[in-house]
């Protein structure tokens, strides 16, 4: 007899994209399909900043989906991204997370590759001469040029590096679309970037939940005391929500508003602390930077792999590295600009206390994701209800809506054919 738990989750079972089945976050087969369709085909994924590999030979190991890749600057100054899989026995040969190399050598059988991923050397390729006879060797038709590392298509825009396993992917600019591109360029306008450092956390939840968290302007003014209390993000801020034409990428745009002012958006909100004062207010020493324009915060979600954070003076990329359906690694790369004053750098670092795995604001995002996933795993027929602001997908000039989540799932359903 078929029970509810035997059901093959393939049918969304509802119109629209506002009621998200819990199995979309837990099912192994769906997860595999997501890796194929979002991370390995037809999409660009974030791999890093050029500032992480400033010199020829500098490399950084990272990942796209579950695949290990290496971003490396070659002798000519170009950026290459190659898969960290030896063409011989498939070994993940690169073990350091960063460094400088003239070439890559797999230690197992010493196959060597140049910094573009071309196979350079295969020991004993032409056999070993002994007693006048040649022993072994690779077959005569072995072609080194067909046995390089997997080379990814690379796009570098204003210091940010994206890569794709899919060489037929559209251009990065078309991929982002004009609206999202303009918010990308707002942060990455071509000024030289400086690397401030990393934070890494493993969150026991489905990777999509992090995209959703930053497509959800509903929670920041409710969950995060610092946002609602100090006016950094609250429902009465002047704000806008914008998507690309597919609904996969989004920008949440907000302008700092009422600080410690009680009104209808704080009534009954326990996280709002009207009389909260800081012992050391340097934690919120916000200085408006000319390039911001009006918004004081723009959070941009680039599907599927990265979030670009500008929250007042704190800047980071947040990379999503899925690890099975029930966990992902979340890598924060904080940066500034080469022309920042020392004081501005200190300010960025100080405001970083709001973000990351210990952040006054962000620490609880990881927690709520974990506790959602806990339920998903034990309740296969449950659904999330993303219906604030209706059931449609549309750009808005306010933040009292979950439209961006609906936009993402409308796209997800189309690509996943679910």
């Amino acid at each position: 007899m078929e029970t509810k738990n035997d059901r093959r989750p393939a049918d969304w079972g509802e119109a629209g994209s506002s009621l998200i089945p819990f199995w979309a976050y837990t099912d192994e087969e769906i997860y595999r399909r997501e890796l194929e369709r979002f991370f390995y085909n037809k999409h660009w994924c974030y791999v890093g900043l050029e500032a992480e590999v400033p010199n020829p030979g500098d490399f950084k190991r990272t990942a796209i989906g579950e695949r290990s890749v290496i971003m490396v600057r070659d002798a000519e100054g170009g950026i290459n991204v190659v898969e960290n899989v030896c063409a011989h026995r498939g070994m993940r040969f690169c073990r350091e997370r960063h460094g400088n190399r003239k070439e890559f050598v797999c230690p197992y059988h010493q196959w060597s590759y140049d910094l573009k991923g071309n196979l350079q050397g295969v020991p004993f390729r032409r056999g070993v001469k002994q007693d006048g006879k040649i022993n072994g060797g690779m077959p005569a038709d072995f072609k080194p040029e067909e046995n390089g590392l997997t080379k990814l298509k690379v796009a570098v825009r204003n210091g940010v590096v994206f890569a794709s396993f899919d060489h037929d992917v559209e251009s990065l600019e078309d991929y982002l679309g004009p609206v999202i591109l303009s918010y990308f360029d707002r942060v990455f306008g071509g000024r030289k970037l400086t690397l401030l450092g990393y934070n890494r956390q493993r969150i026991p939840g489905n990777w999509k939940l992090m995209q959703e968290n930053i497509k959800d302007p509903y929670h920041p003014g409710l969950l995060h005391t610092w946002f609602v209390t100090f006016g950094l993000w609250r429902a009465d801020n002047k704000s806008a929500l914008k998507m690309d034409q597919h609904g996969r990428h989004a920008a949440m745009i907000s302008q700092r508003g009422n600080q410690q002012k009680a009104n209808s958006v704080t009534t009954g909100v326990t996280s709002f602390k009207e009389s909260m004062t800081l012992h050391d207010d340097r934690l919120l020493d916000v200085v408006h930077e000319p390039w911001w324009g009006e918004p004081t915060a723009v959070m941009t979600t680039l599907f599927p792999s990265v979030i670009i954070q500008q929250q007042v003076n704190s800047l980071s990329t947040r990379q999503i590295l899925p690890r099975g359906p029930n966990a992902f690694d979340f890598v924060w790369t904080h940066f500034g600009f080469a022309d920042d004053s020392e004081e501005m750098t200190r300010r960025r670092l100080r405001q970083a206390n709001l973000f990351g795995p210990a952040g006054f604001v962000s620490a609880d995002d990881g927690e709520v994701i974990e506790f959602s996933q806990d339920s998903f795993l034990s309740k296969d027929d449950g659904r999330c209800r993303a219906e604030l602001g209706g059931r449609e997908v549309e750009n808005t000039d306010h933040m009292v809506t979950e439209t961006l989540i609906r936009g993402m799932y409308a796209y997800w359903r189309r690509v996943m054919e679910i």
Partner: protein, 157 residues
Amino acid sequence: MIDPQSYLELAAFYSEYAAALDAGDWERWPEFFLDECVYKVQPRENFERGLPLSTMALESKGMLKDRVYGIKETLFHDPYYQRHVIGMPRVLAVEGDTIRAEASYAVFRTKPNELSTVYNVGRYIDVIRRTDQGLKLASRTCVFDSEMIPNSLIYPI
């Protein structure tokens, strides 16, 4: 170097610090520091590469108190116990009333209904000052080896 009495005092200071944190006695935590102080929890990766970012970076006793308020009032998180195991302090230098020392630590985390797990492992790099109120931290940098923070880091290390 350091005389045996001072070393014992130093060891006692480290164990008091651990006891306060393991008891969740957050109000006591800033009192281990001078008013002008630095407290950082920094990935070893950043520390060794000279990258300035820390996971937590507080620059005064006031900021430590702001963190305590955050723990108690503003951060939503799973409750958990901490258990610190701190190695014997290694004294690097004694200059007047200042001691430079470091010590390895391992912090175990226990959440309600869960097994205890290794949470954060690293070393303290400290500058400690002798004052009329006893030893106080001028700076403590917790440089942690752990490559991944298991979701969040709420309490001080």
